[in-house]
């Protein structure tokens, strides 16, 4: 087997996972946030694997911290404040002093352009050559490092944007152009996505440039779950902003598919937040619209629902006597009370007090956790044992809401799925959650801590492009326009993937559609990009999601999406060849709870709850009435006992 390495740059650690002739190996380096490539290169230590795949939170953090270059918006005259006004709403209904995070473009840092297209894509105000010259001159005078260009109705007719972009680029300016980044309707969302792309370009280009200089073939994980070259990613860094959660979902798919589970819900519970995603047939759900920190960022992303609660979430009692858990987190310092640094009562303290972390639990295998401190902090809220149970119930109720959101609310029956639990706290809560939501089976991967890196090395190469169409399917020229758009998309995605020296395995189609007159579209997967297929898929999706459809009503397409996909890399996962083991035996004879070390388990091991399975990067809680076994790949499979 050739060597594959996945590298995941996180805020604290940079994780490496290698599959090769010498088996599977995982290691870590401290991250170097100012120049993340330093830790990556140091960790690779001169090794040149056949395949190097990389994901990082560099773009995400730059965006969240607004740490990046001055970014200037160039837009149609009359709309210079599109990024200030946004959708004119406030995020909190009952806030005496409402606030909004600033956009990446400062108010007024805008160049208006005298031009205008109408809804049919016809120019109402022509873009004159001297206007182009004037805009270029202003842009040069401003001297910003990066520009975003987004004109009204450019998704319908990009002619004005094209001419202006060509002139700006000819003048040596770095410009992100809306019809290239996101050629779809809704001017704020398109401008916002384009501005975020512009803002990230210099940051990502520098960093990936340094990385690619030593590893020219490095592949970069995208928010869509696909891979792309460092050159393409540097062009369109907005497509990698949510690559972290996507990689975790792909890793969960790789593990569960190898073990024979294709319909899964992933449950990744960390210290401060929890990510949940639903996958059918080994494929995640996608969406094309998302908000990050109050900014619209509309690119294809794996549909992950995030809840602001994790192991570090702080518990408190409000003035009406209700328990609150999160969204505040104790973080790493002071951390939960059980760290012994004066921290507050958290979910981790509750689990510790309930005995769900084993007999002598340690943080990351080293630092001992202090159960006395945990009980003391819980005691400040009420009876410690009662509070510990209540905290777990409240946090489980919040998680259950997220699980229902990705399943029931989208027309999927949880009883048909397996819950794949990972992250430091996921396996602690998985069984009770599965019970609560009606999921019959839980899978805890053998190495839950490196699933993201595994997801990277098993991700296919892909390129997704979209075309904003906004057309009723009964329009006279609907078939012709669809055909033209599809052919253009097919050609562009195939060419782009081939330009990355990747063979094209298939082209997947999706459309955003709605009933003519509706204002919200649903994304549906298509066999073929044809009107009838779109209508049929849309009626069915509407029926499944909302319980009714109207087959006699005209369907309107908003956007067509093509994704060219390369071959799936072979899974590096192999059945373990260790011999079957006897049933696991716990050590704590005086407790009804069996405590088992994960390293003592092998294929064929069985256990009965209540039991705690401990390992360095995660702990699994097997409640009473549940039983488990270890499968051929070292996964822990848990089910209610009959």
């Amino acid at each position: 087997m050739p060597q594959l390495i996945g590298v995941d740059v996180g805020g604290t650690f940079t994780d490496f996972l290698s599959f090769g002739p010498d088996g599977v190996r995982a290691w870590k380096r401290l991250s170097t946030p100012l120049s993340p490539e330093i830790a990556v290169l140091a960790g690779l230590d001169g090794v040149r694997p056949e395949r190097l795949v990389h994901a990082s939170t560099v773009a995400t953090n730059a965006l969240l911290e607004r740490r990046g270059p001055r970014t200037v918006l160039i837009t149609t005259e009359g709309f210079r404040d599109v990024l200030e006004i946004r959708r004119q709403t406030r995020s909190e209904l009952y806030d005496l002093e409402p606030t909004r995070r600033p956009h990446v473009v400062a108010r007024g840092d805008t160049i208006p352009v005298h031009e205008r297209m109408d809804a049919a894509g016809l120019p109402v105000i022509e873009l004159e050559e001297r206007e182009i010259a004037g805009v270029v001159q202003q842009a040069l005078a401003i001297g910003a490092e990066t520009f975003a260009l987004s004109l009204l109705f450019s998704f319908r007719n990009p002619a004005h944007e094209r001419r202006l972009a060509a002139a700006l680029r000819a003048a040596g300016l770095d410009v992100s152009v809306s019809h290239e980044v996101r050629p779809e309707y809704r001017e704020y969302e398109r401008a916002s996505t384009t501005a975020v792309n512009a803002f990230l370009r210099p940051v990502v280009r520098r960093y990936l440039g340094n990385l690619a200089a030593s590893h020219p073939g490095v592949r970069i994980m995208q928010s869509s779950g696909g891979l792309a070259s460092s050159a393409l990613t540097s062009e369109r860094p907005v497509t990698m902003v949510l690559s972290g959660p996507a990689a975790g979902v792909l890793g969960a798919i790789a593990v569960s598919a190898a073990a024979g589970y294709n319909d899964i819900i992933t449950f990744d519970m960390g210290g401060t937040s929890t990510d949940v995603a639903l996958c059918t047939g080994g494929v995640p759900q996608y969406r094309s619209a998302t908000d990050i920190d109050g900014l619209a960022v509309h690119t294809p992303v794996v549909d992950v629902v995030t809840v602001g609660a994790g192991g570090g979430s702080i518990a408190s009692i409000d003035r009406g006597g209700a328990l609150e858990v999160g969204p505040q987190s104790a973080g790493a310092d002071p951390g939960p009370a059980c760290y012994g640094r004066g921290g507050p009562a958290t979910v981790t303290d509750a689990n510790l007090a309930l005995g769900r972390l084993g007999t002598a639990p340690k943080l990351a295998g080293t630092m001992a956790l202090d159960v006395t401190q945990a009980r003391a902090a819980l005691g400040e809220l009420g009876d410690p044992a009662e509070m510990a149970s209540a905290i777990v119930e409240v946090v489980n109720a919040n998680m259950a809401r997220a699980l229902r959101a990705v399943s029931l609310e989208r027309g999927f029956d949880p009883a048909q799925f397996t819950l794949v639990a990972f992250g430091g706290a996921g396996p602690l809560h998985a069984c009770e959650l599965a019970e609560e939501v009606g999921i019959p089976c839980v899978l805890v991967p053998g190495l839950p801590g490196v699933l993201s890196a595994l997801g990277m090395v098993t991700a296919p190469e892909s390129v997704e492009r979209s075309a904003g169409i906004l057309m009723r399917l009964d329009a006279g020229d609907a078939a012709a326009r669809l055909r033209a758009a599809a052919e253009d998309l097919r050609q562009r995605t195939i060419d782009e993937l081939r330009s990355e020296a990747v063979p094209v395995e298939r082209v997947l189609w999706a459309a955003d559609a709605r009933y003519a007159g509706q204002a919200h579209e649903i994304r549906v997967n298509l066999e073929q990009p044809e009107a009838e297929a779109i209508a049929a898929a849309f009626h069915e999706a509407h029926e499944r999601s909302f319980g009714f459809s109207a087959p006699d009503r005209v369907v309107e397409i908003v956007a067509l999406r093509a994704r060219a996909v390369g071959p799936l890399p072979p899974s590096p996962l192999r059945p373990l060849d260790s011999p079957p083991r006897p049933p696991a035996r716990g050590e704590a004879a005086d407790s009804p709870v069996t405590v088992i070390e994960r390293v003592d388990l092998g294929p064929g091991s069985v256990m009965k709850g209540p039991a705690v399975v401990t390992q360095d990067d995660a702990t699994t809680w097997v409640p009473a009435r549940w039983a488990g076994h270890v499968d051929a790949y070292g996964n822990l499979i848990l089910e209610p006992s009959p």
Binding site: R87, Q88, T89, R90, P98, Y188, A519, F548
Partner: protein, 525 residues
């Protein structure tokens, strides 16, 4: 479940999510941009006595008004499974005619659990002008009035009633789609609520509904106790179509954990649509108190229990049956909020920000498109938020009683024969101060065909006030600019005809400033 604190948290989340999921269904399936893009709708869950136990509100003006709808339909009892009631009568459970409420009883194994309800603002409900937000002198001119009636009777849809309602609107196809979305949302709510009963049993659900009401009451009382006891009065004005100034007066008395708000001295009701029904006034007062509660507090009726509201009958804040009310919901509610907050500001110094824009700037227009198809459009235009003790006010944002999103320019122009020429911030319209008030906006709408319009706004004569030495904001203004460039200014409430090629320009007020502005540098000799 183990403990009371845990039960409160968990059930608060569960009941809230029943309402939220109804809202998701309604938003995702609605037809008109007004409902989907602008999210001008709310959903609520009620117990068997009709008390609201959870609400997903996108706009606060629905907060205190939804319980009235559920109370009003009780005249139709006894209920059977599969019933759905409909109403928009402002004097029988409604607020203004475009807001149409649907209410359905929810049964579990044949026993009434409670009710689910939703209310959505329809872009046209008939009456004397497109968009049903006219400058009217009596209710009957504002649209079709629907008293509480069964739209579905034991699962049998009342096609005759539905046909009558649709026939009285300008855009029946769009209305049909929006009503279907409202019905779908009720089904979602019914499924989620009966799902809770299946998992936990009817008795537990009923008990938790009651427990959550009392929990919210406790939170509200705790917040009121933080206000020093005392009494304060405030007064402001609403502007009429001919420049009349109608006073709104409030006396707020805080005593322990209770508040009394008395509107004695407020202007009598008028022959113009500025009259508010009592439910609107209760919503506005409830909003002001609700802003003092911690984030995440449940939205239920328990928060109203410690508040006593005294409303002079036949006044602008408690109109009598038959009065025109379309602007009471959207304009008078904003002024009531300004007045109550101004009184609270005296009791709670350094907490309540300066006045915000104080108007929703409602624009409706409609007519027939180039192909002859009817159209009706409604939107509200944002202003500036008042500056507060800790920061500048936001610019170009919906404030206080509304939070509806804009319809994208690329959506408006794809669906309506207009062109938006300009939609940007109105520089310098916020009041200066240590903290600046937010700026309002300028919006210019050019008409491609002849059309009717109505503009219901306010703060064209008086300005949103600054606080503690902060300067007032600029007041709003609007004008029709004809093709030859001549301009005609419009009063705060106006309606008329736009000719193809003419442009309507609307400039909204900013928010007031906070604290004395830094003095400009001394100029040299």
């Amino acid at each position: 479940m183990t403990s009371e604190p845990g039960r409160l948290a968990v059930w608060n989340a569960w009941l809230a999510s029943v309402a939220e999921e109804m809202g998701i269904t309604l938003g995702l399936t609605a037809h008109s941009p007004n409902i989907r893009e602008r999210r001008d709708y709310s959903c609520g869950v009620f117990d068997a006595e009709g008390r609201m136990v959870a609400q997903a509100a996108h706009i606060p003006v629905h907060l205190g008004a939804m319980p009235e709808a559920v109370r009003a339909v009780q005249a139709l009892a006894p209920w059977q499974p599969g019933d759905v009631a409909i109403l928009n009568d402002p004097f029988l459970g409604g607020t203004h005619l475009p807001d149409v409420s649907l209410v359905a009883p929810v049964f579990f194994r044949g026993v009434l659990v409670g009710f689910v309800s939703n209310r959505a603002h329809h872009a046209d409900i008939g009456g004397m002008s497109s968009g049903s937000m006219p400058v009217a002198s009596e209710l009957i001119q504002e649209g079709v009035v629907i008293p509480p009636l069964r739209l579905v009777n034991g699962g049998i849809f009342n096609n005759e009633l539905f046909a009558l309602i649709l026939r009285n609107t300008r855009t029946p196809d769009e209305r049909r789609g929006d009503f279907e979305a409202q019905l779908a949302a009720l089904r979602t709510g019914e499924q989620r609520l009966t799902g809770l009963c299946e998992r936990y049993g009817l008795a537990v659900v009923r008990d938790m509904m009651d427990t959550l009401l009392r929990y919210t009451e406790r939170l509200t009382r705790a917040a009121i106790e933080d206000i020093p006891d005392g009494e304060a009065r405030a007064e402001d004005v609403l502007e009429g179509p001919a420049g009349e100034l109608f006073p709104i007066r409030a006396r707020v008395r805080v005593s322990g954990s209770e508040v009394e708000v008395d509107f004695a001295g407020t202007s009598p009701e008028q022959e113009v649509s500025l009259n508010a029904v009592a439910a609107v006034t209760r919503s506005a007062v409830g909003y002001c108190i609700r802003c003092l509660l911690p984030r995440g507090a449940p939205a239920n009726e328990g928060s109203a229990w410690p508040i006593t509201i005294l409303l002079p009958e036949g006044s602008l804040v408690h109109a009598r049956s038959g009065r025109a009310v379309s602007a009471g919901n959207v304009e008078t509610s904003q002024r009531i909020t300004d007045v109550v907050l101004a009184a609270l500001r005296q009791l709670l110094p350094r907490t309540i920000p300066a006045a915000s824009a104080g108007t929703m700037s409602n624009l409706t227009f409609g007519g027939r498109g180039p192909g002859g198809a009817p159209f009706a459009y409604y939107e509200t235009i944002p202003g500036g938020a008042g500056a507060g003790p800790s920061r500048d006010g936001l610019s170009g944002v919906q404030t206080h009683m509304t939070n509806t999103a804009n319809t994208p320019v690329e959506a408006i122009e794809s669906g309506f024969p207009v062109r938006i020429r300009r939609f940007e911030l109105r520089e310098g319209s916020g009041g200066r101060g240590v903290h600046r008030g937010g700026d309002g906006v300028v919006k210019e709408v050019e008409f491609i065909v002849d059309a009717n319009f109505a503009l219901i706004a306010n703060r064209y004569i008086t300005a949103p006030q600054g606080v503690d030495g902060g300067e007032d904001a600029l007041h709003g203004q609007a004008a029709i600019v004809s093709q030859d460039g001549t301009e005609r200014n419009l009063p705060p409430l106006s309606h008329g005809r736009m000719h193809a090629g003419a442009t309507l320009r609307i400039e909204t007020p900013g928010g007031g400033g906070w604290g004395p502005p830094p003095s400009p540098p001394m100029s040299g000799p």
